[in-house]
Subunit: 341 residues, 2 copies
């Protein structure tokens, strides 16, 4: 972690520390998902725990807290966002035939496609139950409806992007904006919804809500572009979220790959094309791709692009009054690019 | 159709005729799903149209109307129920590897698993947007939240049952109650939710809501038991909803098959066991299964079981005041068993 100590200290005792929120969110997820009463429930628990970064729940909590809500008020909604995110990952791993997720066998690999599919559906249903359960803890029903609609709309964008992405597979000639739109749908839609929903549940003014929406979208763009870079910049790619070589194995044109295509010399361009059409050992392909991405300057350029989105996210926070929650959101705009997680 | 003319005449001019509601629901589904702006949207439209029986939307509309609501008030919610139902069918066809749905290629077969999966997810998201959109047409937000939670809970039961069903595949020794529980989850949960949600949206008294919930559940049981019988009782099984031979091909123990197992003579029992473990041409297997089911009396017994559930559904209507909508719900308890659709 590169978070400066001074920042972490600043939110001490506010109940907004990352570690505190993560623990609360985990407990809340267990409350809604249950203890594995049937095959679907077992598969849901297996996909949720040990949990991932829990970025979306924290975005929701901090966005709500920055508008004056308490953690308790939005905790069920925040937990629901992680359930929804994991539900889409479970289905995405079926689409990508990804054997690995978070360093271990994906649900599709471990339980088979049928159970992974149904468990993803069940987890999404649970997410809606948790979101709509907010009325039980005293949230006004009209705010709950508005926030839940924002999330449902985001999920529609997410799955549409995953479907579109399958059309681009093996297509090294596709346009960078098309891939950026897929990043926007696959990742930024839900991070944006997490922030906007937090603002809505806190009954924030329209300007605050719009700011949080923009913040979440730009942060999501930065996050995903950085995520696509991680397998090429960390010493042990196997420890990153997705399977280390999955994008290469799927011949999925990512932002760094397209930036390399546009900057590579003829020799490297030929290598890229070979990587996208020839059968090759995954580790070898990954090694060669890393070389091309580094030599062409694509890794640096993609990092710059991620940083530009993170800067926009930071700027979107301008209308917000100072608070510990705002500080955490501001911090994220740095760590999201510099992270190795 | 065996609906007596006198009954149909009774709802003429009330706006509650099956054909009128179906047309309104179809228009409303198009409004929410859009005109196929991307691959996911195209796959959703393809799965929705030409539409099926639209049973769940009508259940919702009639249940709401029986408590004094207008068709317009619940139309978006009713359309959402069909979207949700079709979304689960799209995923169920991936699980069952079913090549045929409603007499033509299933989404999984036509678009491939990845797109069918994402389109199902997108259609479910659209369903939530439509359900929660009820506040736009003046429905109180707290009623919309309650009704939507009922549906989300039902979907969780539906997909849990589909997952459990995969465990029973090829298991001719499984208990009848276990299979009936799967029928309850796969079909009765959503028909029950459709009726209960209609009552909630009409702000019906608790007794009316409970009655509609029971009615929908019992009707769903009758409907599904009858559905599992259809391939063996209609002259042209290829025209029924599912692939004609899908249960045989998947070696799925259905209610009629288990009733045959418990009543068959030793020769027929051996035949059943062979059908469940030997490779056999689907049409041949279907023909032999039909013989065993008929000879053992299982078809008659399953029909009786369906009729018993339909009778319970009819009895559940007792607390309702007389109305054209109540008449339609009562009619369904007859047609659901006698139908060839």
């Amino acid at each position: 972690m590169t978070t400066p100590v001074s920042h972490s200290a600043r939110s001490e005792g506010t109940g907004l520390e990352e570690r505190t929120i993560n623990l609360l969110v985990e407990r809340e997820m267990r409350r809604w998902v249950g203890d594995g009463e049937n095959l679907m429930g077992v598969a849901c628990l297996d996909a949720l725990f040990p949990s991932g970064k829990l970025l979306r729940p924290r975005l929701c909590v901090w966005s709500a807290a920055a508008a004056g809500a308490t953690v308790d008020e939005v905790l069920a909604f925040a937990a629901a966002l992680e359930c929804m995110h994991v539900a889409t990952l479970m289905h995405d791993d079926v689409v990508d035939q990804a054997p690995v997720r978070r360093g271990r066998a994906s649900s599709a690999e471990h339980f088979g496609i049928s159970v992974a599919l149904m468990a993803g559906d069940g987890l999404a249903s649970t997410a809606y139950l948790a979101m709509l359960g907010g009325t039980e803890t005293g949230l006004p029903a009209d705010l709950v409806v508005r926030a839940t609609r924002v999330v449902a709309d985001a999920v529609r964008h997410t799955v549409a992007a995953i479907a579109e992405e399958t059309l681009l597979r093996e297509d090294l000639s596709c346009a960078l904006p098309a891939v950026l739109e897929i990043v926007r749908g696959k990742t930024a839609a839900l991070t944006s919804a997490a922030c906007q929903a937090g603002a809505i549940l806190a009954d924030a003014p329209a300007a605050h809500e719009a700011a949080m929406r923009t913040y979440g979208e730009e942060l999501g763009m930065a996050f995903q572009i950085r995520d696509d870079l991680l397998p090429f910049t960390t010493a042990t790619p196997g420890t990153t979220n997705s399977g280390a070589f999955s994008d290469v194995a799927n011949r999925q044109p990512t932002v760094p790959v397209l930036l390399a295509r546009d900057a590579a010399d003829p020799g490297d361009l030929e290598m890229l094309q070979r990587l996208f059409c020839e059968e090759m050992d995954a580790a070898t392909a990954h090694g060669r791709l890393t070389e091309v991405l580094t030599r062409s300057g694509a890794l640096d350029r993609a990092t710059e692009l991620a940083r530009a989105h993170a800067t926009k996210a930071y700027e979107a926070l301008a209308p917000l009054a100072p608070s510990a929650a705002r500080d955490r959101l501001a911090e994220l705009t740095t760590t999201v690019v510099d992270r190795a997680w």
